[in-house]
Amino acid sequence: MTRRSHLAAIGLLAACAGAPTNSPATGAGNADAATAAVGRTTTRLRNGATLVVQRVPGRPQAVLQVGVAAGAVLFAPGAAELAVHVVAEAGDAANSRPSLRRRIEQLGGLLQVHVGPLTCWLDIRVAADAWPAAAKAVGEALAAAPPTRAEFERVRRDVVAARTAALTDDPAGGMARLLLLGESGGDRYVRALADRDASEVTTFLARGWRPELTTVVLAAAAEPAAALAELDAEAGASIGAWRAATPPTPMALIDRRFDSGLWWSPATAPAAAAAPCQLAVVMPLPDPAEPRAADEILALGCLTLEGVGGRLERVFADRGLGQVRWQATTVATADATALVLRTEAPGEQVATIWRALAAARASLQSVQPSRSEIDLARVRAPLLARLQLLDDGVRARRLRSDDPSMDAIDRRLAELATAGPEALREGVDRLLARPFACIAVGGAIASDVPDVHAFQPTPTAPSAPPAAATPSPSPTPAATAAAPAAPATASAAARPQPWLEQAAAAAGGAAALRRLDGWRSRAETRAEAAPALLDEQEWRRDGALTRTRTVLGESLQTKLAGDGGTERLGAVARQLDAAAIATARRELRRHPLALLAAHVRGELAFRTVTTGEAADRRLAVLETNDGGFERLRMHIDVESGLVRAVESWETMPDGSVVHLHEAWQDYRPVGVLRAPFHRLTTRDDGVQRAATAWTAWTPVFADPAK
């Protein structure tokens, strides 16, 4: 019953119509007058950004939209959203630069931020004669240096608080928006925002907020030439003067899908289980520019007019659900809009409602819409098609593409009105191929509905970083280690060590870590002046390892089991000696989750070395000489509890000591755990560096959780 559809299909229009991604910047003053559609002019600024100007004479208001083709599907969960908020909200007190939002408000205007899977936008409305000042403020914000860590953390804190509050107030409605973003729960979404580090967002800004990826849309009572001159001015901080600080670097795609199906967040308190469930049915609308959008919209009108009428009401009545009353609304991201039908129902009725919804949709294929159904839907279809365009800002943003006007939709609807019902078959097929979800909040998850997606609307533990714990025992102030300490006993490991507890909690909890038996993973490692290496592993904590490293088409397979190990390259195989086996195993055992798991099982004990500041972050440094490590230090971020770095020292057979520093980033939820998806390894203080980015990491547990 569930169906997966890639979000790119939902935001297809935005991708097709978005800003050019890799067009080279034009020279200064060399703006091309490209297509000039009716009522608008498209050119380029000298930094490569696309500019669309729509002259609206006599209109006393200006709408300025600034967007980038860098949305939520890129780089890391939450990065895009935090990046656009940083542009909008971060200021620089040291240089007396207020935030962009403050600047716009001082002009008497409004600033909103829109995030989508593919694009992010600043939506600015000001008086007609204030748009040059607003554009200048935008130019200064874009060109500003990355914010300080403190300023970033303030912005992140505000965003996390606002999103948490919104999801608490309306979990069903909030989840509807998250589905459009390809998220799978408010809990994970908010945690991802809280997990993002300043350096990650700075990276996203450098890679995503670039002129060549940017579109500026101005709808104002201004001549296009005058607008271009203002926005591309050489003097002062115009948008056209903004330059990217670094060369373009592609960003990895995150797998984001709008998973169709029944999404359910059960009641947590026993008393709440009897309360009615909030239901929201989410039906993404086709973009008017998509081929055959009119057909699909007409099919949607046959399914339901607005929660009343249509096939839906008939099926519900047949199934004894005639008392269900729907309230229609819309929910939107920067790239997509969905029709949402909302109601309340007893928890025990949710499964029946879900089946009825699915049946109503499917019935459009098994029983063609009748002439009268189509006639009713056809009157409504023009309004349905326009639902996404009611807002001035949305209409302005769409000027960036050569959209057919609503006339094309209306013409096609008129054609369908005179064609037979068979002509609607394609529209029905398209409607049923589009993702579709029903969100339930409350009650208990029905056991007779397969493939229910369980989700949590908000984090169950505070997503805000916990207050720094008081160290126990008192930290040793020395920054450098003395001679390796005697191995700690199991009783020492049991001594309260708040940072380790905090780190274990941040990683998913001691219970889950205790059961962690290994993982399967897939990653790509890039080192300077070396080709990319694909690394696939299957690791168990007893030391069993199957590892395949592929570079330039050649694969090196390593297998470790017990005391033995082999390496094979093509037809050539060799036995590994004990030192090589131990080195290979230590690499896996240095993984933050492996270290924390070993600690909670009592296999590894740490002592506190110090706490201190590093790159504007407060870290607790803990050291162990256990577990086969000569000397290993774990750096725990005292605010988030995440393990940010692991350092190790190893003595080589020739007596030299190798120092490895592994910086761990990009923590993501993986089931019950939170695992890092990026590692920067520095050997011997920079002699060799390699970056590893995971595309898959799946934990293996010793016994399945009951």
Binding site: P60, G108, L110, R125, L305, G309, E313, L390, R395
Partner: protein, 469 residues
């Protein structure tokens, strides 16, 4: 200071800028319905708001909230749309009403409860309450919704240019042929909401007492007190519907993608006549000015507080009053807030409400509430002294600009959605009938205008209610 004035002027221009290029064109249909038509060629839909009186002055005594209830029930259909047998349904609804009246008078009356159940089932069989919404959806109309805005009730929906005629026909049918289905349950929901609002307002009792001291016997007193749970009989409801929905009482605003001339023709054809009786012209009760300070007290207030009220003159324009109140107190800022915190410390909380209660065309109050956890001693005197001082001279232009800027930003945020804009304009046209309707932002008042108003009001005798735990 000049910069602030320029900013305030720019802000007002911006707010004027949020409007469509053409100003709203007033139009009165043959049946007397007033329209404000604001075509906007850049829009893709037509947003329609119908405002009608929804305050205690238009509700029957003892049934405050009925006009709002009736606008909610109006979407459940008419005799023409939704009834399967309108004679039998009409009779069943009358019997249902009677059974509900008995049940609410005596909840232990098992016969009444059984009768309610029986007649309820029968009315359900005799009608399809979703037929009207279904027809609306097919008109097409998007999201017909009912909301309270100040002393008015507003129905909003969105449609297309092609749908105007069908929507107009349905609105006329709704007005003329109303069946008032599900009245008891809808009424109880309205009561529940009003009770919730009352319960959630820690100073409601103080303000009600203030109104009782100053506006006894007027609709304001009824608006301020707890709602009466008695179910209004159907004939009383019908009379209230006729009073509040008569063409002369309502204002329609259309904003968006339509042709002005063609739409006028369509509306004139649809809104041709009415069978609703002309509302009686009942002279309002003119409250007597206070000859001296009136005092009272109420108990059960969590933080010691005072509510001080002054009678407001009947005003033609609400903008200056709103600007004056914003200057006195706006959240944690405001001239009066600063004065009182200077005198009593930063824990003192001050709010200014006017007009209160919100009634269209009736005398109401300007109310200052001040709460001080340290106690009541001297609080009322401090409030009176501060208000007297502030009313003695015009407000500084810079302070007025700042508070107006905040107010304008709120207006902008609330009106950036054209549908909300249509609703706000319609509500204002009913609440302030003498104020020219406009889609533009409120004007920046002059310090002199604010001073005149405050000097007139705050130098009158006041009523004081003290609230103690």
């Amino acid at each position: 200071m000049r910069r602030r004035r320029r900013e305030a002027a720019a802000l007002a221009a911006l707010l004027a800028a949020m409007l469509p290029a053409q100003a709203p064109a007033p139009f009165t249909a043959p049946d007397g319905t007033r329209f404000l038509l604001a075509p906007d060629p850049s829009a893709v839909a037509v947003h329609w708001a119908v405002a009608s009186p929804g305050d205690a002055a238009h509700d029957p005594p003892g049934h405050e909230g009925l006009s709002l209830t009736l606008v909610h029930t109006s979407l459940l259909g008419t005799w023409h749309t939704g009834s399967r047998d309108h004679e039998r349904e009409h009779e069943a609804l009358m019997w249902l009403d009677e059974a509900w009246q008995r049940m609410l008078r005596d909840p232990r009356d098992a016969t009444a409860a059984d009768d309610v159940k029986r007649w309820d089932e029968q009315t359900r069989e005799l009608a399809d309450p979703r037929a009207f919404l279904r027809r609306m959806a097919a008109a097409p109309a998007w999201r017909p919704e009912v909301q309270s805005i100040g002393p008015t009730t507003v129905l909003t929906l969105s449609t297309t240019r092609a749908g105007i005629a069908a929507v107009a026909a349905m609105l006329v049918e709704r007005r003329e042929d109303q069946a008032m289905r599900d009245l008891p349950r809808t009424w109880l929901r309205t009561l529940e909401e009003r009770n919730r609002v009352h319960a959630g307002d820690p100073h409601r009792a103080m303000r009600a007492e203030l109104v009782a001291l100053t506006l006894a016997g007027t609709p304001a007193e009824r608006a301020a007190r707890l709602p009466d749970p008695a179910l209004p009989p159907r004939d009383v409801a019908a009379a209230t519907w006729a009073l509040t929905q008569h063409p002369s009482a309502t204002v329609h605003v259309l904003l968006g993608d339509f042709d002005l001339a063609a739409t006028r023709t369509t509306l004139a054809r649809a809104f041709a006549a009415t069978l609703l009786p002309l509302p009686p012209q009942t002279p309002g009760i003119a409250p007597q000015p206070l000859a001296g300070v009136r005092r009272s007290s109420v108990r059960g207030v969590a933080t010691p507080a005072v509510a001080v009220g002054w009678l407001l003159p009947l005003l033609a324009n609400g903008d200056t009053l709103a600007a004056a109140c914003g200057w006195l107190a706006d959240g944690d800022d405001g001239a009066l807030v600063r004065r009182l915190r200077q005198a009593r410390g930063n824990d003192c909380r001050v709010t200014v409400s006017a007009p209160w209660p919100e009634l269209a065309g009736e005398t109401t109050l300007l109310v200052v509430e001040a709460a001080d956890p340290k106690g009541l001693a001297g609080l009322a005197d401090d409030v009176l002294a501060a208000c007297r001082d502030l009313a003695a001279s015009p407000p500084p232009a810079a302070e007025l600009d700042a508070s107006h800027r905040a107010r304008l930003r709120r207006w902008l945020a609330g009106n950036r959605d054209p549908r909300a804009q249509a609703a706000a304009v319609a509500a204002q046209a009913v609440a302030w009938p003498k104020q020219p309707a406009s889609l533009a932002a409120p004007d920046t008042p002059t310090p002199a205008a604010v001073h005149d108003l405050l000097r007139t009001v705050l130098t009158r005798q006041a009523a004081i209610v003290e609230g103690t735990p």
